[in-house]
């Protein structure tokens, strides 16, 4: 006799084990699976830039166009921040090109503060050791990955800031790369 329905009480708690339930098979769920535990990817935001770039000739950080916004759905969500670009650097007459990058965050338009130091807490990244009075034009791939806990459900902006090591003659300017080279920001909200 075939059965199409088995009442809940008709199965012992340990009646269905791995030998009966094929754990290597694929199962297609048509409903919502809840209570699965672990992180869940809740949303992805992405912004690509291929036109106007930003040039900074300063020892303090300047904002760039490399930015994107995400509004977390829960205060305990984490945000995975990924930025990718190629920095351009120029020194007219010196011994090297050195710059720093950092990710800044703004919550609900309240002003930017630094959340990921990139290389901004220690060394400057770049090229050095050239002879005096050398004209140096260089490009440097830059990939930043940072996990943030913004603790808010308000809009959160993440923006790339860049600066020079002007004090030690490390360059005349740093920019976000040639305008035809793609820069990108990807933000992923991961549920607790």
């Amino acid at each position: 006799m075939s059965k199409t329905t088995i009442p809940t009480g008709g199965l012992a708690d340990d009646a269905v084990e791995a030998t009966k339930l094929d754990l290597t098979a694929n199962y297609a769920f048509t409903g919502t699976v809840s209570g699965a535990g672990g992180g869940k990817l809740l949303q992805v935001q992405n912004a690509d830039f291929t036109s106007t770039n930003t040039t900074v000739s300063a020892a303090s950080f300047g904002a760039t166009e490399v930015t994107d916004q995400i509004t977390p759905s829960a205060t305990d969500s984490k945000v995975l921040v990924m930025m990718s670009l190629t920095l351009g650097m120029y020194e007219g007459s010196g011994t090297g090109n050195f710059c720093q990058v950092a990710i800044y965050r703004q919550v609900n338009g309240g002003g930017y503060s630094r959340v990921s130091f990139g290389n901004a807490d220690n060394a400057y990244s770049g090229q050095g050791g050239f002879g005096a009075s050398t004209e140096i034009s260089s490009a440097r791939p830059c990939n930043l990955v940072f996990v943030d806990s913004p603790n808010t459900t308000s809009a959160v902006d993440y923006k790339l800031y860049i600066r020079l090591n002007v004090a030690s003659g490390g360059g005349d300017n740093v920019n976000t790369g040639p305008s035809n080279l793609q820069r990108s920001v990807t933000l992923m909200e991961i549920g607790a």
């Binding site: 770039n53 040039t55 300063a58 300047g62 120029y90 503060s113 600066r163 002007v166």
Partner: protein, 70 residues
């Protein structure tokens, strides 16, 4: 040579230690007037800027003259 590099060279010729930030190309006087000139730094190490050039050595006319030599 990229426009941004030429802009920096031209400005540095007028004032070596001038600090500035700009977006896009500087081609016209209107573009020049959008340059952010650094006047200080805040507690987050972000540049404090103004669009009014604080350096008497740097004007649009002087900048354009240097730029056109490049």
């Amino acid at each position: 040579m990229e426009n941004s590099t030429k802009v920096c060279i031209a400005i540095k010729k007028l004032k070596t230690d001038a600090e500035f930030i700009f977006t896009g190309d500087i081609v016209t006087e209107a573009d020049f007037n959008k340059i952010d000139w650094v006047t200080g730094v805040n507690s987050e190490e972000i540049a404090i800027t103004t669009n009014t050039c604080p350096h008497s050595e740097i004007t649009w006319t002087k900048f354009k003259t240097e730029y056109d030599k490049l």
